[in-house]
């Protein structure tokens, strides 16, 4: 393909309704050779399109260890995500990617890894969670601290249940105060608060990967620093608005850093060197 803006076509093989406004698409390429050879690394993202509505940027939410398909998860918010939301199994979408940098999972081997996510930010973590779980022997304790506004807003409920069942995963789930239901068996409280005061992780030999809105990242990093974590133990992703994903359209930059090329994965020390435009 010579045109960097022309997507490859994918078929929606399966639609999973995650929440009333969030869906997962299970996708395969229509071109057999591409379907055979497509590769990506956890942390990367794509440009997904509904022809007639436009393109939107989401992470690849499946793990590269699960071959033969990719998944994305999105909330209907604007024009493109509303149009995608209305598509059904068998329909065609466009995909450009994979783009961006990757989670440095080799650097984490032999360490404890804690994933901290809020709301619709579980999908990028879900890719790397399954990646690590599929290479389980290489990592020590794996913990997931995930919260949403309400029980209804939790995505991947079936997988949260699966992680709770496993004895090699610590699953800590929470909803914001007021978002709980009568039969809710998780925590009630904001993610950074639950992390700091209920889960209280030990910084020794531990990496923390945080995904969420900018305000959550800020409070979570502050909480982790109070627990004794150092900057080089903290990793996050930034999600600035993008169009091209190729470092050209000029939209996602934070000063001289392009989230689409230099990100979306950043270490806390790298974030500290950025102007506050994320």
């Amino acid at each position: 393909m010579s045109n960097i803006y022309q997507p490859d076509l994918m078929t929606i093989k399966k639609v999973i309704n995650e929440t009333p406004d969030t869906k997962t698409f299970h996708l395969i390429f229509q071109d057999e050779e591409l379907q055979e050879n497509f590769e990506f690394v956890t942390g990367q993202f794509g440009e997904y399109s509904c022809f007639g509505a436009g393109e939107s940027t989401f992470c690849i939410a499946s793990s590269p260890t699960r071959k033969g398909y990719i998944e994305c998860c999105f909330r209907k918010t604007g024009k493109v995500t509303n149009a995608l939301f209305d598509l059904s199994e068998g329909d065609t979408i466009g995909f450009r990617g994979p783009f961006g940098n990757t989670f440095p999972i080799e650097e984490w081997e032999g360490k404890n890894v804690i994933f901290v996510g809020g709301g619709i930010a579980l999908p990028p973590l879900r890719s790397v969670i399954w990646n690590l779980l599929d290479l389980r022997d290489k990592y020590k304790d794996i913990s997931i601290v995930y919260g949403a506004r309400s029980v209804a807003d939790l995505v991947y409920k079936h997988e949260i249940a699966e992680w709770e069942e496993r004895d090699d995963v610590n699953m800590v789930k929470t909803v914001d105060p007021g978002g709980e239901t009568d039969d809710w068996d998780g925590h009630v409280g904001f993610v950074p608060h639950v992390l700091e005061n209920e889960f209280k992780p030990d910084p020794e030999n531990t990496i923390v990967v945080v995904c969420g809105p900018p305000i959550m990242i800020k409070f979570t990093f502050e909480a982790l620093e109070r627990l004794g974590f150092k900057q080089d133990q903290l990793i996050t992703t930034l999600e600035n608005r993008m169009k091209c994903g190729l470092g050209k359209c000029g939209r996602c930059n934070i000063g001289s850093t392009y989230v689409c090329i230099d990100g979306p994965v950043f270490k806390a020390a790298e974030i500290d060197l950025l102007p506050p435009e994320y």
Binding site: S49, R241, Y278
Partner: protein, 359 residues
Amino acid sequence: MRTATLQKSDLDRVIDLLSQADYRVIAPQNQPRLEGPDSIDVATFQEVQPGDSHNIGEGLSTTGIKPFLFPKDEPLFAYENRGKKVVLTEVSLDFPKTVILGVRPCDVASVSSLDAVFSDKNAGFNDELFTKRLEKTTFVSYSCTEPDVSCFCTSVGLAPDSDKGSDLHMTELPDGTLHVEVKTEAGEKIAAVIDSLLSGEGDAVARQQAGVVAAEKITRLRDSASLLPWLQDLNNFGDEMWQRLGEKCLGCGACTFECPTCHCFDIVDENSGNKGYRVKFWDSCQFDHFTLHASGHNTRNSQFERYRNRFNCKFKIYEDVFGEKGCVGCGRCIRGCPVNLDITEYMAEVAQKATTSAS
């Protein structure tokens, strides 16, 4: 490479010969801005045919040559929704052999800046809509002898007679003849086409002198060397200057559309029934929705932040990321601003702050 003399009155013949040699010729042309008797003529770059009027070497064009390499809107591909299937049709990347005639030194210098963004020099992604146009384009530049009050090319390492990016460069001498300098192989081809109009070896001394005289007419002189280190110091990102100077900005985006190096674009689907085009078109970092997240969070939420981004893009981001100049000093952002926001005022203030903090 070869130098020669060309008579200015032979520029019409240059257009004839280049057209005969199957070049599409783009040149500055005066056209009425409005309909009716009150209209004034403005110069813009247009495709010209033999016999058409032009104003090569006269005045400055209101808009530059950017649309001929990076059109303000262009289809990326066509799509057709057929039930559950979609059919995509590629656009042609076969662009016409083109010569841009009479391009000013600031504008031709901007081409390498755009190339650094759109070509595979940038992260390995080659936007062939740009690079294949560029491959087919030859630049015949023309020194400025009458820069205007908004020009500041000499503040950004260029000059009214710079030949950076040029294939064949012309300088008008006081006697009305043009000193012609062939700079590249593509320029050689142009020289071969117009060979019958070229004579002698030109007058290198007079050409040099014309450049000196023109540069002296530029009154707006700013120090740009001290900008980069000051902008690279993260502590200065929150300087009070940004808000004070940026408050004036309306966010209309005129500066970005007239700027030869501004490259921001949007991608949208232009839909009609079950088919349409995905289109890339000029966008502006000065618009409030440009960085608006789906969540409602906006990373550059106020206008001064958007202006600060543009200034940083010109004097820091372009250099950090693309290794090229982000500003060629053409002055269009000053001329085109409806509230007289003057980028050189920022340059002067930053330079002053940089000097103060260094001492």
